[in-house]
Each structure stands twice: as C-alpha cells, then as structure tokens.
Amino acid sequence: MNPELGNFALALACCMAAGQAILPLIGASRRDARLMALAPALAVGQMIALITSFACLIHAAITNDFSVQNVAANSAVSKPLLYKITGVWGNHEGSVLLWAMILSICGGAVALFGRNLPSALQARVIAVLGGVAAGFELFCLTTSNPFARVWPAPMDGQGMNPLLQDPGLAFHPPILYTGYVGFAVPFAFAIAALIEGRVDAAWGRWVRPWAVAAWCFLTCGIAMGSWWSYYVLGWGGYWFWDPVENASLIPWLTGTALVHSAIVVEKREALKIWTVLLAIGTFSFSLSGTFLVRSGILNSVHAFANDPARGVFILGLLALVIGGSLLLFAIRAPQLTTGGLFAPVSREGLLVLNNILLCSICAVVLTGTMYPPFMSLLFGKTISVGKPFFDATTIPLAIPLMVFMGFGPMMPWKRAQMWPVLRRLWWAACVTGVALVAATFQMREILPVLATATAVWVICSSVADIAERLRLFRQPLGQSWQRARSLPRAVFGAALAHAGVGIVVLGIAGMSQAAHRIVEVHVGQSEMLAGDSWTLTDVKPAEGPNYTALVATIEVRHNGRLVTTLHPSKRTFASQHQTTTEVAIHTNLMADIYGVLGDKHGDDANPTYVLRLHYNPLAPWMWLGGLIMALGGALSLSDRRVRVGAPRRANTVDVVVVP
C-alpha cells in the first residue's frame, strides 16, 4: 500500500510541477495576480508531495518490503537500521528521487522566504524551478521508478555494496546534492531576469544569498566526499581526480566565481551579463555532473549506476535545459545594459581577475575530464589523464589566484591605489616571507613551498583585513569591540572563508610531504616510520552484524611512549562475497597516523601480515578548512542585510500586488 502511495505522490508532484512551470509564466506575462499567486502554492504542494513520496520509500526500506524491487536489490534483513535508511539514496533510483525532493524543497524555500520579491519575479523563478523539477520527476517515473514492484517478492534482499555501508555515506550525498541542486535557484533567477530583460543591483542582492547557500553545501559535500574516500578506500589519498570528483569540482569553481561576481552586480551594477551567464553555467555543470555519473559515459570508481538508456533521457533533458537557457541568453543578453565603470586596479578589477582565474582552472579541469572520453569516442584511443596532469595545470593557476585573494578584500571600489593597500599588508607579507624560507628548508619541491607560502599569505591577509577594519591595537580595545559589533557579518564571513581556503591549501601542501611504508610483518614485529615505531601486537577475528572481520592491533610509540593503538580490520561480507578494508586513523589535528591491514601470508602456524602505514602531516586541515569555508559562507548568510530590508527596485514596474 505504502509504495503505491509514494508512487502516487510522485506522480502528483510531477503534475504540480508541470502546472508550476506553465501557469505562473502566463500569469507573469499577462500580469494576472491570481495565476502568479498559484506559484508559491504549487511549489509548496509539490514539496509536500515529494517529501511524502520519499518518506514512503524510506518506510519500505525500514520495514523490509522486498516486493519493492529497489529495496530487494539494495537492502537485506540483516542490514543495520542506519544503512537501511541511507541505502535509500545509495542507489540510482533513490538518488534521483532525493535529487527531485531537494529541488522541490528549493522551490518551496523560494516560495516561503522570497515573499519580499516582486511577485512577477518570484512567479517566474518558481516557474523555472518547476520546469526543471517536472523533467526530473518524469525521468524518475518513466525510466527509474523507485517504487516498481517485483513478483514474487524474494524472502531476503541482495544487500548493499559493503563499501557504501558507512556513516559518511549517510550525509555525503544529501549534502552534495543540496549543493548541486541549490544552484538551480540562481539559475532560475537568471532565467527569470532574462525573461524580464532586467538585471539590477536589487537582483544581485536577491540572488546572492541563494548562491552562497548552495556554495556552502557544495563545499561541505566535496570536503565530506574527499574525507570519505580518504578513510574508506584506504589508499591514503584524498582526491583522485576521478571524473565523478571533477564533476563536483567544476560547478564548485564556477559557483565560487558566481558568488564573487554577484557582489559586483549588487554593489556596482557591473558584470551583469557575465553573472547571468555564470548562473546558467554553474547549474548546467551541476546537471552535467549528474549526467556524467548516471550514464556511465565516464566510468570511474563510483560506477554503481551504468545504464545508457537512462542517459538518453538525461541527455535530452540536459539539451533542453542548457540549450534552451543559452538560447534565451543569446537573444536577451544584448538588451541588458552594462553598468558602472571601474579602473583595473580596484575591488571590481580584482574580482574580475578572480573570475578569470577560477574559470581558467575550471576550463582546465573540464578539458582534462572530457578529453579522454572524446578521444575514445572520436578516435578509438584509450587514454587517461591523472594526477600529474591536473597538478601541472591547476596549481600554477591557483597560486596567482591565492596571491590576489589576499589583496581583494582590502581594495576600495571603483579606483584604488596599490601603495596604501600594500602598506596595510606589510606584516602579512613579512610572515609570508618567513613561511617561504621555512618551507624551503622543510620541503624539497617548488610547488608545495609556493603553496605553503601563498596559503600563509591568504590567512594573514584575512586577519589583517579584519584587524584593519577594527583598528585593532591602534585604538583602545573597547572601541575595536564596538567596531566589531557594528561591522557587517558578511565581512567576517568573507575573511573566514578566505582563511578556510588557506587552511585547505596548507593541508594539501602538508599531505605532499606524507610518508608511507608497506611492510610484511609477524605478530610482535616493529617497524619505523616518520620517527615512530609501529608494532603489530595482535590479530584476531571478530563478528559483525552482517560480516566477519579480522582485526589487527597496532601500537604506535614515539621514543618509547605509547602514542596510540590502532585497530585496522578487514571485513568479509558473506552475502556479496566481498571484502572491505577498514582503515584505522588516529589524529592529533597536526598529523594523521593511518594504518591499513592487508593480506595474510604464510601458514596458520606462522602467519605474516601485510600492513600499510601512513604518516600524513596536516591531513585533517583539508577537511577542517573546507568546513571553515562553509562556516564563513553561513556567517555571511546570517548577515542582517541579507535577511531584512531587501531593497525595493529603484523604480518599481510592478502593477499587481498579491492580496
């Protein structure tokens, strides 16, 4: 009964989305207040229907309803409750439903929080979101219905891929998807603005919080994905330049550019056409990201849903959404007037530079990701590009980006002099110089040294920016405190996010100095790595809920003092004949001690075990920095200026008022 209810709710949501896509658009063009008022109502209705539908699927998974094919294929009675719930989005059908649900929540959020928008703009934004949602829900209903029944129902399900049975997976896809889908809102604003033929400072102010919110989620999602691969895949790496990872990095890069260029629209009414294009591009890359993952065009370690038939539907949807919006852009963009003038050396100038560099990095990553599949499609050559390629291309572009990042927040708008800015940053430059010298002694290669220095530069200049604004140490502390309270939170948010970038880059530079050894040892034998002595003291079997495990005990000692005891293990899942490696990590926030248990060799009387031991300096900083970046974004979202007093347009053309 419940799966049918879920299916019905999904179909209902699809119909509401179709209505939501068409009626408000007609209403907005005819200035019909009643039709426009339908938009928020339909958006909220669609959101409720899809949440109901998703709840039905979770219910089916929890109650072991194996007559639902999706549950039978991905769940099992013995699976722990947490993974029964998270398993709902660990497969193709469920993840598409999750995607659609998040999109409908975005529509509902625009309906509920966007009440101060002009009604025509709000109606158009919700209509565009409805159109995209209708496409995805139709895709869900026709090609990948999560509620399809199977008859006769099996007694037990086939179980889930053991690699996906991990707490990290509970939160990684929903957060990442919220980031992907969240960029649908700036996209909808861009399309609505193109239909209206009008982009102004107020538009920039409305669109920016949505872009920042999506950016926060995407940042968190990418950081969590990287953390997941670090501790689940057990290779000691954190980023593999895998096509699926790149598919999330590309919209992040353009999304970051969007968040910055929208500031220029908001403050100076310049870069309007470019910002609209970035909004369209970011969501297009998000959609293509899904497409790349779901169709199997790009095979990768994430290949849990390879079905070209679905790819055709998604490809059609992509062509419609991306092609349609670019066509509209081409027709309408020339009508948008260009705005304020600025000198090359100014805040705007540096934000333009930021956009150029971010888009260059994006172009490089896109080329590296798309080149191999195109080569194999066109010329039948099988090639791949990996870490060396991406390191050689992205780092040289990222370093100038980071250098300019330090200056950006200090620059005055419109026209600036370099000298006063440099004078305020002198101590940051000194610290950077010290870091450069220290790093040169510590590290051998040039790129990690440069990365360390620029990261220190970014962190110091963010601190300098705040200190300068508070007149810290030049005024009594009480006055600085007063200034801090009156300073907009967005300023703190920006500084925090920039410092977060610096921390991430320090983590990456630290990881380039990571040491690892692969050893084969008897129980009781000790090995040295990075000044610590690692002793395998015990290996014994253990039972889990749906697996059996072999658990090792490794004692790590530094100069005879016990640092930590690691328990890496190997799990064998009987239902899938699959083994997984459980990494043991001990962190003191300055370095990770990372142990992996490998194969057992020799006879049972005198066995040896292969161990992989890693010492990863500054590794936690990468994810901590990502979190700080997202926190910075959240802090700037909590700014009073974003929440209330969103400005009316200069000369409002709205005739209708929603009763």
């Binding site: 150029i356 390629f389 692969i518 194969d599």
Partner: protein, 174 residues
C-alpha cells in the same frame, strides 16, 4: 577610464588567463597523458622506460605469488589479453577486489627487461564489472566479442591457446 579602455583591459586579462590555461594544458598533455595498453601491445611496441602507461587485461589464474624485498611485500602476477602475457611487479596491498582470472588495470612503467613495475593496481567496485578498456582489448584480440554473448568464464582466459585464436583469424584484425 573610458568604457572602451575598460573593455580592452578585460579582453587582455581574459586572453592572459585563458591563454596561460591553454598553454599549461597543452604542455601537460604532451607529457602527462597516460595511454592504455594491452599486454600484446607492450610486447610489440614497448613504451619508453620513463613513460607511465595503464596496462589492462586478465590476471592469469595461478600466476599470483608474493616476494619479500627488504621487509616490503611485492606481489607478482601475469596479466594477459589472450595474445601475450606481461609480468607485473607491485609493491603494496592488492585491492580487495583483485582476483585471479579477473580483469585488472595496473598503472606504472615498463622495465627494460619487459616486466611491468606497477605503482597502482585497480580493480573495480563491482566484482562482475569489467573495465571498458579491458573488454575492448579482449574484443580486439579476438578472445571475445560482446556481440556474440557474454564474456566467457574468467577462469578460462589463460587456458585458451593460440590455436583457439588461429581458428578465427577474421576477428583478429582490429
């Protein structure tokens, strides 16, 4: 600053940004692209010793054994595409999905003596999944054509003899 000169600045900045991106990409492409090769290609046209390649094929059943070099375990196994086999030496932990008689992709360099020094060995998430390159290579070598049914039992790859291939020369040409 006039509108015209601002536009000039923007164009110049864009050119520099995208130009350096293009230059970096082309430069990296010339040295960092990793080609996929099957064991028979490695035999007929060995790549230079400093060139990283991806070697793909099936692990010959019964060929996997371990050696210990200075406390570090080295896994040694043969990879075949049905035409020729290459011996792979890999210092490290083989992935959980690594099996004899199943497909594998190894990343590394070819030694002057013809053996392969792997820095990374990849086996895919799904145990029934065969990397596209490996499937393509098997089809090219005439071992298996996806148009004529599913892949034969993995365990039989290494027992197929050259005589089997000689019977169907039509499929040998790529």
């Amino acid at each position: 600053m006039t509108r015209k000169s601002r536009r000039l600045w923007l164009v110049v900045a864009c050119m520099i940004g995208l130009g350096s991106a293009a230059a970096l990409t082309l430069n990296a492409f010339s040295s960092n692209i990793v080609f996929f090769m099957a064991p028979s290609q490695v035999h007929s046209k060995p790549p230079p010793a400093d060139r990283t390649i991806r070697l793909g094929g099936m692990v010959v059943a019964g060929s996997v054994h371990q050696e210990k070099v200075k406390d570090a375990p080295v896994a040694i196994f043969d990879v075949t595409d049905g035409q020729a086999a290459v011996t792979v030496r890999y210092e490290g932990i083989l992935p959980d999905l690594f099996r004899e008689g199943q497909s594998v992709v190894a990343v590394g360099t070819v030694n002057p003596d013809g053996t392969f020094r792997a820095s990374e060995v990849l086996a895919k998430h799904d145990e029934t999944y065969m990397p596209k390159e490996v499937a393509e290579e098997l089809r090219r070598s005439g071992k298996w054509d996806p148009r004529f049914g599913k892949a034969p039992d993995a365990a039989s790859w290494n027992t197929m003899t050259a005589a089997d291939n000689a019977k169907k020369p039509a499929t040998q040409t790529p």
